[in-house]
């Protein structure tokens, strides 16, 4: 403990006052032989990356909290249009009922213009919407000190207006925000783990090199009766000082970046739109006091990693050393370096750099291989997507079409009409869309809507489609399904469906999307973006499928 305290004090002193406290000549193990500039630069960069990641995660979390509070303090009531219904009167009636509820501080019905404005991004700004049955919205602010019983309010509205009035408490968005926050936190944690692992690898390499380059000093220390702890502490304090110095440099750089980021965006030509987008994503885009405290923790963590990793390795090397000044001594055996490196050590070169380079090369190679695997995987993925027009499918019990394009439903209806299956499930239909509305879109298929089509409204994404289809297939006792979706979406959809129902036989029916140029995906930026996004979702889907298969195999 005493030795640890002494090492700690000396290490901290060396970090802040290297020349005054420990002149090179008085150090038993020269500081320059342990931590050169290159090593300091690498650890500083690691610390910078760690601080940047931690700071970003912190800001996104702060921002998400603010979003969450905003969303939680407001609910929306949607008044659905019906033929012959005076919408203005209906909205006024609903608003007056809402005003009477306990816990609601403000009720603001949105005018038809405001409701239409919300649809502008999709339908464009024109007067044609005045003729469309646009749902009307009522924004409600909740009294946060005395929140209302929303399920009771919902029930009251349902009793009075049936399904013509819907209360949306934004639960979906709340869960989306929670999911986003969790994803960002997990991604950030993953990056921090990678940075910590890389730092440990670099320090291990540097510790081994430091021991190799100073093996003569280590032997002399043994001769003069130095304890193992004493020898180890001579190295540890240099690594501690390195960790503190590099950690502070990295944190300082990251702190300055956070501080000046908003100004830099402005200077680099980011207009008010960019600034506002960043503000929406990460709040003020600046760290608060606790954010800077977090950077301080990173410095402590970097210093700790440097000290404890080096301590472990130096001690391990000293422990495995059976004898000293052994004529059979081999630097390769003891320190893991070659005789060529031994020669360099004897010639006074700086072997810490060779170790550093080795560690750096390992990181570079790993990163390069990772990118290469990702890139090659993407090329194989994109090239293997089958987008041929004509295709045949075997007879099946049911058809599942995933919403996302009119042509998908069209093709599915054709398959049903051709008798390829008994029933069709349209999965992912909007809650407000009725079977009648859909039937009007496909006039020729009205009889099919009356007899053989089911609508699934629960799914919000492909995973949801798979779960919805599984429930439907179970309910109907179907053992084979035809899955209908776009070509580019098919690999992921099949992966998710196989994970959800491994015992159901699946056939794929691909639908070409007019806006996606699968023939020349590499030359069309929009198609490329779409495929990259799909590929990023496909990797977890296929991984999940792999795990699911292994689990099923183990379960027999």
């Amino acid at each position: 403990m005493k030795q640890f305290a002494k090492t700690f004090v000396l290490g901290v002193s060396e970090a802040f006052w290297p020349r005054r406290q420990l002149a090179e000549s008085t150090q038993i193990v020269p500081q320059s032989s342990v931590s050169g500039r290159a090593l300091t630069a690498v650890i500083s960069i690691m610390s910078f990356l760690a601080c940047l990641t931690a700071g970003m995660v912190y800001m996104v979390n702060q921002s998400a909290d603010a979003w969450y509070n905003d969303i939680a303090s407001e609910v929306t009531v949607q008044v659905a249009p019906r033929e012959g219904l005076d919408m203005d009167k209906q909205v006024t009636l609903v608003a007056s009922i809402l005003r009477r509820q306990v816990g609601i501080s403000r009720v603001r019905p949105l005018s038809l213009g405001e409701s239409s404005a919300l649809l502008e991004p999709w339908l464009g700004a024109n007067n044609s919407m005045l003729g469309l049955p646009v749902p009307r919205l009522i924004a409600i602010e909740i009294d946060r000190n005395r929140p209302p019983d929303l399920s009771r309010v919902r029930q009251n509205l349902s009793v009075r207006f049936q399904d013509g009035v819907l209360l949306d408490d934004h639960r979906h968005w709340q869960s989306q925000i929670r999911s986003l926050t969790r994803s960002v936190a997990v991604a950030g944690l993953g990056i921090l783990v990678l940075v910590a692992t890389a730092t440990i690898a670099v320090i291990v390499s540097a510790a081994r090199s430091a021991m190799a380059s100073n093996h003569e000093i280590v032997e002399v220390l043994h001769f003069v009766g130095a304890q193992r702890k004493f020898i180890a502490s001579e190295f540890e304090r240099h690594f501690l000082a390195l960790g503190i110095r590099s950690g502070l440099l990295g944190a300082l750089a990251a702190g300055l970046m956070f501080f000046f980021a908003p100004f830099a965006i402005q200077i680099l030509g980011g207009g008010s739109v960019t600034a506002s987008e960043i503000k929406q994503l990460v709040g003020s885009a600046q760290l608060d006091f606790f954010g800077y405290i977090l950077l301080g923790f990173i410095v402590v963590a970097v210093a700790g990693i440097c000290m404890f990793t080096s301590s472990y390795w130096v001690d391990r090397i000293l422990n495995t050393e059976g004898t000293i000044a052994n004529p059979n001594y081999s630097p390769r055996k003891r320190f893991g370096v070659s005789s060529r490196q031994k020669g360099r050590v004897a010639n006074g070169a700086t072997p810490s750099k060779s170790g550093l380079l080795r560690g750096g090369m390992v990181i570079l190679k790993s990163t390069f291989l990772l990118f290469l695997a990702f890139g090659l995987g993407f090329v194989v993925y994109a090239s293997s997507i089958d987008h041929r027009g004509a295709q045949s499918v075997e007879q099946a019990d049911g058809i599942v079409v995933l919403t996302g394009g009119k042509s998908r439903i069209n093709k599915a209806l054709k398959l049903l009409a051709a008798g390829k299956a008994k029933r069709l499930l349209i999965s992912g239909v909007h809650a407000q869309t009725s079977a009648g509305q859909l039937a009007r879109l496909f006039p020729g298929a009205k009889p099919l809507f009356n007899c053989c089509i089911d609508l699934g409204r629960a799914a919000k994404d492909t995973i949801g489609n798979a779960h919805e289809a599984r429930s439907w297939a179970r309910q109907k006792s179907f053992r084979s399904l035809i899955v209908v979706t776009s070509s580019y979406h098919m690999p992921r959809a099949i992966a998710e469906f196989r994970s959800a129902m491994p015992r159901v036989k699946l056939s794929a029916y691909r639908v070409a999307s007019p806006n996606v140029q699968m023939d020349q995906w590499w030359s069309n930026s929009d198609t490329m973006k779409l495929l990259i996004s799909e590929y990023l979702k496909y990797i977890p889907a296929i991984t999940k499928l792999g795990f699911s298969k292994v689990r099923n195999m183990l379960a027999g």
Binding site: E24, S25, T26, Q27, I28, P30, E216, I217, E219, V220, L221, H222, F223, V224, G225, A226, Q227, R228, F230, N319, G322, T323, I324, A325, N326, P327, N328
Partner: protein, 219 residues
Amino acid sequence: MIRFENVSMLYTTGPEVLRNVNFHLPAGSFHFLTGASGAGKTTLLRLLFMSLFPIDGNIFLFQKNLAQVPPEERAALRRRIGIVFQDFRLLDHMTTWENVALPLRVQGRRESDYKEDVTELLKWVGLGNRIHAYPHILSGGEKQRAAIARAVIGKPELLLADEPTGNVDPRMARRLLRLFIELNHLGTSVVIATHDHDLVKQYNAPRLVLADGSLQVRS
């Protein structure tokens, strides 16, 4: 003080360097260790210093069987021994004074406690004007004296010297021998490995003669 019982030693390649060596050196004794070059003098010293371990037999030092001394206790035993190597083993980045003070520094002693002792010893071995010099500017003889000073600064109970006068002139060799004799008179056991017959003739001490892996003690 030192007892060898049927000690044998060989390296992974080459013949047996020591074969069933038996001898006993009492505390406070003075011995020369002689033999032709490659006879095993350095090996024997290294066995005593626990930088090597025999393949067979037992070595007893300070009434302890060295094979049974745990690694963490070896440092304490080594502090009771001073050793002078043929190749000096001085640390190039430290001054002569710092090199000589090293054994006291690793014991955790305060510099103010030993500052005068180190300076005085350096003056005695003729390095008073080389206190702040670094090893790379010292001559071979000066390095040898600095290495001897480092070995004796901790007042060891046993001094092992490997060719301590190999790099000095006859006058300095006699002076260094006097230092060893004085240390011996103060109670330190001394073993000097040398093939310098003139040095051996200058002091009437028993000789350990190594030849063909065997050792003979000659008065």
